[in-house]
Amino acid sequence: MSITQYNGGTILAMAGKNCVVIGSDKRLGVQNLTVSTEFQKIFPVTEKCYIGLPGLASDVQTLSELFRLKVNMYKLREEREIEPLTLANMISSTLYGRRFGPYFCEPIVAGLDKNNKPHIYGMDLIGCLNFPDDFTVAGCAEEALFGMCESLWEPDLEPDDLFETASQALLSAADRNSMVGWGAVIHTITPDRVITRTLKTRMVIYYISYI
């Protein structure tokens, strides 16, 4: 098993009409053993921009601290908030700085810029950036999420519909992966506020007797 799958966890981000969502599961495991069901993988950067860090939990925490430092230094020097694209490039450069001994993490950036235009970015563990205009996924349930997002996502969704789409995608993907789940968090980022909702996964009593 790959080291990026050692702790489990998965993240997705979707773009809508003047809004974005970013969501993750809440599990932290050591292979098959679940250690925590309240593990933070998504970190706020500004009031309208979040980063998701799936991968090796140690690097998730190291990077979240490193990016917090860098973003705070940026704010002090520039006297303004960092834009999503700038942030994505900063993260990408940081990761490429460790080209031959990488952090085992594939970050996702989601946010609105100063004109409230939605931005989502994905990258691999050495910082190769992706600029999708629909959705981006990473982590242990990446494939399942690709299948879900590719079939559920549609352009120009309003915040509530985008949240519902992302929730259904994340929950259905999480329920088919034993390394992923134990609840989920979804942040819906809109021009005037961020709505953070917590979801239950694999806790519904299914109706299965009809087989």
Partner: protein
């Protein structure tokens, strides 16, 4: 084969560590203390490579002390755990990483709340209501899942620990000879019998 356990309660943290010092097939010692008091209200339990564990624990203990001497304030449990995690994460990518797993248990006198941090040799830090390291985790976590509540009293916590130890004695292949149990609360850290 080493086993560490921590349970938070209403206003305390209960920590358990086994006392066997084993190398290969030989039990060297039956009263080994695998914990170290970092300050008056924070205790660290450690397991892993025998050389690394004591060296790393003492290194952390003295740095925590140094901070207190320099700044005249006691580090909170969270600050201690964050510092310790960072040391392990840095060590992971060094020439010779420490192989140490930790539980950091403490009572935060500023907020009057108990805290428990689970940290592994990779530098993963998880804040938990109850936590375990080693093979013992596979036997005891399910018991804790069933019986633990955030507001349990010390007596209830002791009863849960007894259940855990009982399970290890019946199902774990290695007979863990003894356990050191410590309580950390507003009055500091003290060892108790169970």
């Amino acid at each position: 084969m080493e086993f560490l356990l921590g349970i938070t309660g209403k206003d305390f943290v209960l920590t358990v560590s086994d006392t066997a010092a084993i190398r290969s097939i030989v039990v060297f010692k039956n009263n080994d203390d695998k914990s170290l008091d970092l300050n008056k209200h924070v205790v660290m339990l450690y397991s892993g490579n025998p050389g690394d564990t004591t060296h790393f624990a003492e290194y952390i203990q003295r740095n925590v002390k140094l901070y207190e001497i320099k700044n005249g304030i006691e580090l909170t449990p969270k600050a201690t755990a964050t510092f310790t995690r960072r040391e392990l994460a840095t060590s992971l990518r060094s020439r010779k990483p420490y192989n140490v797993n930790l539980l950091i248990a403490g009572y935060d006198v500023t907020t009057s709340l108990p805290h428990l941090y689970w940290i592994d040799y990779l530098g993963t830090n998880a804040t938990l209501p109850y936590a375990a390291h080693g093979y013992g985790a596979y036997y005891t976590l399910s018991i804790l899942d069933k019986y633990h509540r955030p507001d349990i009293s010390l007596d209830e916590a002791k009863a849960i620990v007894k259940k855990c130890i009982e399970e290890l004695k019946t199902r774990f292949l290695f007979n863990l000879s003894g356990f050191k149990v410590k309580v950390t609360d507003k009055d500091g850290i003290r060892e108790i019998e169970i």
